[in-house]
C-alpha cells in the first residue's frame, strides 16, 4: 500500500497529461500543473527553511567549532525573512494608500531591498564573477594537447578566443576582405565554426537528450525505475 499507492498516482497523473497534450480542451493543463507545482514548492520551503534552521541551531547549541558562522547564517536568515514577510518599511501602493499591505515587498528603500541590494546582490554577483578566474585556471591546466580530441578542443577554443578580440582581427588582417581567402580571416572562421560544427554537435546532443528524457520519463511512468520513490531497487 505505502508503495503501490504512489505508483498508481504517478502513472495516473502521467498518462492523463500524455493524453491531454492532444486534446485542445485540456492542452492548458500543462501550465496548470506547473502552477500547482510552484505552490507545492513554495509550501515545501517550510521543510527546507526549517531544516536549515535545525542544522544551524544544532551546531550552535553543540558549540561545534565554527558555530559562530551558523549564528551569522541564522541571524541573516531570520532578518531577511521578517522584513520580507512583514513588509517592514514598505509604504502602500499609490493607488491604494489606505491599504497598509498593498506595497510590494521589494520596494526600493525598504529594509528588504537594502539587504537584497547590498548583501544578496554583491555576494552572488561576485561568486558569479569568480568564474573568470576558474576559466583561466581550467584553460591553463586542462587544455593540454594530450591527443587528437584534446587538440581539437583547445584549437577551437583558441580560434574563438582570438576571433573575439582585436588580436585575432589583427593577426589575419593582411587578408583582403574580397579575396577568396577571406574565409580564413579569424572572425570568419569563428562564424563558420559556430554555424557548422557547433550547430552539428549541439543538434546531435539535443536529439540524444530528447530521446534520453523521453525514455527516462517512460521508465518512470511504467514503474521500471522507482528509486526516487524510496522503494529502492531490490
Amino acid at each position: 500500500m505505502k508503495r503501490t499507492a504512489p505508483m498508481i498516482i504517478l502513472a495516473l497523473g502521467g498518462f492523463v497529461l500524455l493524453v491531454a497534450y492532444f486534446i485542445p480542451y485540456t492542452q492548458g493543463w500543462g501550465e496548470d500543473a506547473a502552477l500547482w507545482f510552484d505552490i507545492l514548492a513554495a509550501i515545501a520551503f517550510i521543510l527546507g527553511g526549517g531544516n536549515l534552521l535545525k542544522i544551524h541551531l544544532k551546531k550552535m547549541s553543540d558549540k561545534v567549532p565554527g558555530w559562530g558562522y551558523s549564528a551569522v547564517c541564522v541571524a541573516s536568515f531570520l532578518a531577511m525573512l521578517t522584513v520580507g514577510l512583514l513588509k517592514i518599511g514598505v509604504h502602500p501602493n499609490e493607488q491604494f494608500p489606505d491599504y497598509r499591505w498593498s506595497g510590494t515587498y521589494d520596494q526600493v528603500g525598504s529594509p528588504f531591498w537594502w539587504l537584497y541590494e547590498y548583501g544578496f546582490k554583491p555576494l552572488t554577483a561576485t561568486m558569479f564573477a569568480m568564474l573568470a578566474f576558474y576559466v583561466a585556471s581550467a584553460a591553463f591546466r586542462a587544455f593540454r594537447a594530450k591527443n587528437f580530441e584534446a587538440i581539437l578542443l583547445l584549437g577551437t577554443a583558441f580560434i574563438i578566443l582570438l576571433g573575439r578580440t582585436f588580436a585575432g582581427v589583427f593577426l589575419t588582417g593582411f587578408i583582403p576582405e574580397d579575396s577568396p581567402m577571406a574565409g580564413l580571416k579569424l572572425e570568419n572562421l569563428t562564424m563558420y565554426v559556430m554555424q557548422v560544427f557547433n550547430t552539428a554537435g549541439n543538434r546531435a546532443i539535443m536529439i540524444g537528450i530528447a530521446l534520453g528524457v523521453a525514455s527516462t520519463s517512460l521508465k518512470v511512468l511504467l514503474g521500471v525505475d522507482r528509486s526516487y520513490l524510496g522503494s529502492g531497487e531490490e
Partner: protein, 487 residues
C-alpha cells in the same frame, strides 16, 4: 512624466490652430500625393479551423482589382465583442475628457503648468477647478454626441489583427474566444498606405472546439506526433518485455560508469566522504530525477563500503526525495542503521548562494569523490575547478549543452547528454532498464532514416531543378516531410 518643452509647445499651438500650418511647414519636403486608395477586395469568407482549440479562424478573400498595381498589403480586422467595444469607448471617453481638462489648465497656467502645481494659491486652485469642471462637462457632451461614442462606427467595431503582403490572400486570425461570434474585414492598403473600403464577412462566425488537436490543420497537426510517440514508446516497452523474458541484452560500455564504484571505494579507503550534487533544478526537471537514480546506486555502494555520502540540495523537494532514495538504498544494502538523514540537507534556492556554500564546504571537508549529476548552469566550472583543487575524483553528468564543455575540461569523467540518462539504466544493472536503451537507439535510427531520406530527395530535386516534373514532385515530398510529418 514631464513632457519635453518642444512637445508641449507643439501640442499647444496645434491644439489651437489646426493641422494646416503643419502641412505648410512640411510643404518644402513635398506634399504627399493626394490619397489614391485601391479598390476593396471583391469577396471575403471566414472558415473555422478543423481540429483546433476553437480559437482560430482562416480568412480568405479575392484579390483587389488594383493588386498588385496599387496594393502594398492587406490589413485584416476582426470585430470587437460588445464588451470590448464598451471598454474602448469608456477608455476613449476618459482619455478625451482628461485631455480637455489638461488643455484648460494650460490655458490658465501656461506651458509650465506641471511645475507650478505645488505653488498654486488657493484662489488659483478654485479658478482652475472651475475651469476644469467646465471643460470636462463640455468634453463629455461633445464626446457623447460624436462618432467616437457610436458603437457601430467602424473604428469602434473593428480591431486590426494583422496583415499580409500584396497577392497573399489568406490569413489566420488567432486568440479568438469561441464563446463569441466574430465578423471579419479586409482592406487593401495602397502604395501610399491609403486604405480601400472594407470587405466584411456577411455572417458572424464563432470558432468551434474539436476533440483532437490537428492544428495547423493543413499540416495534420499532431497526428504524426502520435505515431512517432507510439513507435518510440512501443519500442521501449517491447525491449523491456524482451529483457523481462530473460533474453540477453548487449550494450556497449560507457567510460565513467565503472568509475562510480571505484570512486566511492577510493573515498572509503581515504576515510573521506563522497559529495553528491543533484543539480540546481527542482523535481519537475527530468535531469534531477535521472541524477537521483544515479544517487540511489552511489548511496547503495557507499552503504556497502560503509562510506559517507553528503547531499546538499538547492531545493526542498529534492532534499525530501533524496532522503527517501538514500534511505531506501541503505535499506536494500541491509544497513538501515547506517543511514543518517542529516547528511542530506537543504542549503538555499539561490544558485550562487548554493555554490558559495558548496565550494567552502569542499575545501573544508575535502571529499575524495564528487558527483555532479543533474541540471547545471554557470556554477558547473566553479564546482569542477574547486573539486579539482582538492584532488577529488570527479564524475559529472548533465544534459545542459552549454555546461558540458566545462565539465569535459575539468572533470575526470563526464556523461554527455544522452549518456547521462542512460547511466541510471546501466547502474541499476537490471536488464529491463537496459531494454529502454534499445528503444533510444531505435529513435536514433528513425532520425537517420528521415534525415537521409529528406536530404536525398532535396538534393536530387535541386540537381534536376525545381521546375522539372520530377523536381517538383520531389520538393513536394520534402515539403510534406518537413511541414507535415516533422512539425
Amino acid at each position: 512624466m514631464i513632457r519635453p518643452p518642444a512637445a508641449r509647445a507643439l501640442s499647444m499651438v496645434l491644439g489651437v490652430l489646426l493641422a494646416g500650418p503643419v502641412g505648410a511647414a512640411w510643404a518644402q519636403e513635398g506634399e504627399p500625393a493626394a490619397a489614391n486608395p485601391p479598390a476593396a477586395p471583391p469577396r471575403i469568407a471566414a472558415h473555422d479551423f478543423l481540429m483546433d482549440g476553437g480559437d482560430q479562424a482562416r480568412i480568405v478573400w479575392e484579390q483587389s482589382p488594383d493588386d498588385p498595381a496599387n496594393v502594398s498589403a492587406y490589413a485584416i480586422y476582426r470585430s470587437r465583442t460588445d464588451a470590448e467595444i464598451q471598454k474602448k469607448i469608456k477608455d476613449d471617453r476618459a482619455k478625451f475628457i482628461a485631455g480637455r481638462k489638461t488643455e484648460a489648465t494650460k490655458a490658465i497656467l501656461g506651458e509650465d503648468w506641471k511645475t507650478m502645481l505645488d505653488t498654486l494659491t488657493p484662489q488659483q486652485r478654485i479658478d482652475i477647478r472651475a475651469a476644469r469642471a467646465e471643460a470636462a462637462k463640455a468634453a463629455a457632451a461633445e464626446f457623447d454626441a460624436g462618432a467616437m461614442n457610436d458603437p457601430a462606427s467602424e473604428d469602434n467595431r473593428f480591431l486590426l489583427h494583422g496583415s499580409t503582403k500584396s497577392l497573399e490572400l489568406k490569413y489566420e486570425v488567432d486568440k479568438l474566444d469561441r464563446a463569441n461570434a466574430y465578423v471579419f474585414m479586409v482592406k487593401a492598403v495602397g502604395k501610399d498606405f491609403s486604405k480601400s473600403a472594407g470587405a466584411v464577412t456577411d455572417a458572424p462566425m464563432s470558432p468551434t472546439l474539436e476533440w483532437f488537436d490537428g492544428t495547423p490543420v493543413q499540416s495534420g497537426g499532431r497526428f504524426w506526433l502520435v505515431w512517432i510517440v507510439l513507435i518510440f514508446c512501443g519500442a521501449v516497452v517491447f525491449w523491456i518485455r524482451h529483457a523481462r523474458r530473460g533474453k540477453p541484452i548487449r550494450v556497449r560500455k560507457i567510460a565513467g560508469l565503472e568509475a562510480v564504484d571505484e570512486a566511492v571505494g577510493r573515498a572509503t579507503e581515504m576515510g573521506r566522504p563522497c559529495l553528491f550534487v543533484p543539480g540546481i533544478q527542482d523535481m519537475n526537471d527530468i535531469q534531477t530525477i535521472a541524477g537521483i537514480t544515479v544517487l540511489a546506486r552511489v548511496a547503495r555502494t557507499a552503504a556497502e563500503y560503509d562510506a559517507k555520502v553528503e547531499v546538499p540540495t538547492a531545493r526542498s523537494l529534492v532534499m525530501t526525495t533524496c532522503r527517501e532514495t538514500v534511505q531506501a538504498a541503505y535499506l536494500s544494502a541491509g544497513r538501515p542503521d547506517a543511514y543518517n538523514q542529516d547528511l542530506i540537507y537543504y542549503v538555499t534556492d539561490e544558485q550562487f548562494g548554493y555554490v558559495a556554500y558548496l565550494s567552502g564546504m569542499m575545501v573544508r571537508e575535502k571529499p575524495a569523490a564528487c558527483f555532479y549529476m543533474g541540471t547545471f548552469y554557470a556554477e558547473s566550472l566553479i564546482l569542477a575547478e574547486t573539486g579539482n583543487a582538492i584532488g577529488a575524483i570527479q564524475i559529472a553528468g548533465t544534459a545542459m549543452p552549454a555546461q558540458l564543455p566545462f565539465f569535459v575540461a575539468a572533470c575526470d569523467y563526464t556523461l554527455i547528454g544522452e549518456e547521462f540518462f542512460a547511466a541510471s539504466a546501466y547502474l541499476s544493472g537490471s536488464p529491463e532498464e537496459l531494454g529502454s536503451l534499445k528503444g533510444q537507439d531505435l529513435g536514433k535510427v528513425i532520425v537517420a532514416v528521415l534525415m537521409i531520406l529528406g536530404i536525398g530527395m532535396m538534393t536530387l530535386a535541386s540537381m534536376v531543378g525545381e521546375q522539372s516534373g520530377l523536381g517538383e514532385r520531389l520538393s513536394a515530398a520534402v515539403k510534406f516531410l518537413k511541414d507535415v510529418i516533422l512539425t
